[in-house]
Every structure is written in C-alpha cells, then in structure tokens.
Amino acid sequence: MHQSTLAQLSAALESKQISSEELTRLYLDRCKNFNDSLNCFITITEDEAIEKAKQADQLRAENKHTALTGIPVAQKDIFCTNGVKTSCGSKMLDNFIAPYDATVVEKMNAAGFVTLGKTNMDEFAMGSSNETSFYGPVKNPWNTEYVPGGSSGGSASAVAARLAPIATGTDTGGSIRQPASLCGITGLKPTYGRVSRYGMIAFASSLDQGGPMALTAEDAALMMNVIAGFDERDSTSAEQNVDDYTKNLNNSIEGLKIGLPKEYFGEGLDSNIAKVIEDGIKELEKLGAICKEIELPNTELSIPAYYVVAPAECSSNLSRFDGVRFGYRCNDPKDLSDLYTRSRGEGFGKEVKRRIMIGAYVLSAGYYDAYYLKAQQIRHLIRDDFQTAFKDVDVIAGPTATGTAFKLNEKLNDPVSMYLSDIYTVSVNLAGLPAISIPAGFVNKLPVGMQLIGNYFDESRLLNIAHKYQQATDWHQQIPEGFE
C-alpha cells in the first residue's frame, strides 16, 4: 500500500479497501522505523495524525469528504502548524510552537489531508545538502552515505523512501527541484505568487515559493489543486485564476516546442548526467515534441546575482529573531545589545550567519549600488533571456543539478562549491518562473532529475509533459533498496 500514488490511495479509501486510520498507522510505523536511519522528520505528530485520520473516516462515512480526505502528508518544517513545533531546522526556533496555520497547511487540512509530521530541512532553508539543519543531516534513501539535497531534503527523502505518499517543499533557489532530483521524485516549483507564502517562514521573500514533492506528476497536480490560489494575507499572491491542474495531464504533446539551452549542457555538467538528460529528451521527442537549441546567455551571472539578492533579503527577514518575542533567548543578557547579539549568535548556525553577514554587507552604506542594485539589474537581464526564449519555444528542458547526490561532508566546508551546484535552478527563481524536476534515470545507482521550465502560470503544461513522460517511462516507479 505504501508504494501507492495519491490517485491509488484515493481509490483505495473510496472503495473501503483500507481506512484512513489504517493507512495513517501504516505510514506512521514506516516513519518511526526508518527515521533513525534517514532523519527525515524533526517531529512526528502521531497522536494528532491518528485523531485526524479517525475524523477523515467519519467524514467518509457521512459522505462529506473530498477525493483526498484521509490521505497522509508530510509538511516541511518551514510551514507554521498551529500548536505544533515549527523549527525551520534551527536552534533559534527549537522551542517555537506555531500559534497559527500557514495558508498551505490550512488548505491541506481543509481538503482532508492527515499530517504525519514535520520534515527536516536545511536551517532556514539555506543549503543544498540538508547538512545545515540543527537536527542533523538527512540521509538519501538510495545510499545513506549520501546527502538528499536541500533545502527540502527531509521531504524528498521521506517521499522517496515511501514514508509519506506526498510532502510539501519550498524553493528559493532550487530547494524543491534539487532534492527531488537527488532522491528520484517529482518536485514542482510554481510561478512566484501562485502558492501563498503566508505562514511559510521567510528566507528571501521575492524568491520563496512553496510546492508539491510527490511520486508522480499526477500527484503533484492533485496537491496543486488544493494549495494554489490567491490569498489576501500574502501581499505578493497572484490574483490570476487557478487551473484545474489534472485536466490537461493526458493531452498529447505532439508538436510541443522544447528549447535546450546550450548553457545548460556545457562544461560543469557531469557527462553521465548529460547522457541521461539527452535520453530523457529523446523520449519526449518520441512523444512528438520538437527540440531546438536556444540561448540563455546570462545563465553564468545567475549565481552571483542570487547570492546577493537571497542573502540581502534573508538578512532583512531574519532580523525579526531578536530573543524578545519568540524563539531562542541567551542566558543572562547584560544589556539589550548583548541580548540581541548573543541570542542571534547562539541561535543561528554557521551557514545562516554567513548569509546574514553577506546580506548585511551588500546592503550597508556605500555598497548598495555595487551589489544589490547591480544584482537586480542582472535579474532583469535573466528574466528577459527567458522571455526571449519563450517567443520561440513552449518549454525549456535540461538537467536539474550538475551531478547526482554527493557524499555527506563532501562540500560542507566549501560554501562556494555548494553554491555553484545551483546553476540550473537559481535563474528560475530570479525570473519567478515555474519549473518541475522529474526522475529521468540513474548514474552509479543514484537518481538523476530532468528539469522542465515553463512560462509564467504554465504549471498545467509542465505537469502535462511530466505526466506523459511518466506514462512512457518507469524511472519514477523505482524504489530504493530496503524501502520496498
């Protein structure tokens, strides 16, 4: 049963083959059994989950349910969950019990999802390996000596190991797509503004976007139908109408024009990964797609621009953690400034401190034009590159990450090398576009993800292409050994 997709679980619940309580207990047992080895959960909410599952069974008995009522989910620990610890992977929030639900959580609860727990993540979503978490690194179920990617590494690992049928993630520079690629699952980063950021702890507000991490594109579409949409509590929420993301899943992709950016296949890409992606593209061609080479000439600049914009916004957002209103407070502060500096110095981990300091520096008097303004100008160039490309092609395809999962500790002390591995994902966030990572093969028994980038609000088309690809391939059905 734990190998099932959302669509299959929904059918099993509908036909009374299994109850939500049985299903929830089954997944809770897996979470508890495997969490020692994978560390993908910070909190497992067993009692609340069983209670919610019983309610779901009651709703089904009374015929007051949705198709998803009673299906378990794992929430990334960046989403506020009323009455449940919400740590964001940080010592700073180790004692924080969220006093309200994020919009995403509220909508999923209303649809009947049963929350199994809160997944581990890089501290404040800053990292690409899930090693910066205060709660220790998450392991990749394909090989537990390897990282799952980050920052949504707990969600990716949990879904890949079938500890949860689906999970939420957030993506500021690749944090849904890169762990999805490294763990062999499907992860969608929606258009900026498509999914509400209310109650999602802010890292870089002009880049952050929540989305589904699932076994299939169809499941991602089912979750998008629940979480997408306008929210007046998020001032950057898009007022655009929401598609039914399942409606076009089976459309033919005959004649679809796919752009292949030459910058995504150049040096820096592992040749084995390149081969997997080329095979994936051939598969799309077999389904009728037409490919052509395109250029995204400012791709190289996306990393430097991102590592100005994201730290600048993080230094501003994280100034709220001051030891006064919530979160960690140092012992025996001698004065107010000691309270601030020691609470922050002791409460934040090293990567978060590095990024806050970079942000404080680039925003400091005399440096604004040279760094922040310059980065926002480059952001304009990057967005224009994509818009020029989309005059010619419907979607853009390429690798999600430069390599497969790497070993724990391999890059931990070399932040710049870690940052450079985000080359294929960060420009999408700078431009605010939607993109999906889907399993496309393996290199040395580790999964490889293919990325599809769409134009604004074209999630439906990305899900359609991903679904057609998954109908023709079985990479997404592979299960890591020991988790069958």
């Binding site: 004692n95 006093p99 258009t191 900026y192 503004g193 002009s206 001032s235 929420s237 898009a238 007022e239 400012n298 190289e300 600049l301 990393i303 430097p304 621009a305 590592y307 100005v308 230094s315 006064v324 209103r325 919530f326 979160g327 960690y328 407070r329 004065d335 107010l336 400034s337 000691d338 309270l339 601030y340 500096t341 020691r342 922050r344 110095g345 934040f348 401190k353 590095r354 300091m357 970079i358 942000g359 520096y361 680039v362 310059k374 926002q376 100008q377 480059i378 952001r379 304009h380 160039l381 967005r383 932040p415 710049v416 940052y419 450079l420 700078l430 431009a431 605010g432 576009l433 604004y456």
Partner: protein
C-alpha cells in the same frame, strides 16, 4: 575582495551577531570567497538596465485600512521568552 578582521567584526555588529574571536579567520576567508564569486557580476555592463525587485513586476497590492486582526496578545505571548503584565521584558535600557 578580501575582508580583514575589523571588517568582519563590523559586519557582525551591523547584523547584531555575536561571533567567537576564534571563528573570525574562517568567516574572513569564507565571506571573502563568497564576495569574489559575487563580483563576477561586474563582467557585464548593466548601464541603463532597470533593476527589478519583483519577478513579475507587479505592484504590491493595497487593502482597505480596516481592522482585520483580532487581539491575540496573550496567545502570542505564550511563546515569548519573558513577559510581564502583557509586556515583553528586555534588560534595562534607561538607567
């Protein structure tokens, strides 16, 4: 770009972060490396390009100036490290 010890201390103060004296050399190296990466931006001429802060360049939405939040002071203060009579406590600021 290379940051020396006093610059690292100045940035840490701007960010209100207490950092250990012994960690300053590693911060100095790492921050300098990150800034060198960032300076690759200078390879492109951006004169005349307008900066964008919002990817879709949509203006921030305004709402009517109405009270929408209800008073939840006690609820929120349950999570505060130190409060008294509805106030957050901090070390004495004015002697």
């Amino acid at each position: 770009m290379s940051l020396d010890k006093s610059e690292v201390q100045k940035i840490a103060w701007l960010a209100r972060l207490a950092i250990d004296e012994q960690d300053i050399p590693s911060y100095s190296d790492e921050l300098s490396n990150i800034l060198s990466l960032v300076e690759r931006m200078n390879s492109v001429d951006t004169d005349g390009i307008s900066p964008i802060a919002h990817p879709l360049e949509l203006p921030a939405r305004l709402r009517a100036d109405e009270v929408t939040e209800k008073d939840q002071r006690d609820h929120f203060q349950e999570h505060a490290p130190l409060t008294e009579s509805g106030c957050y406590l901090v070390p004495k600021v004015i002697e």
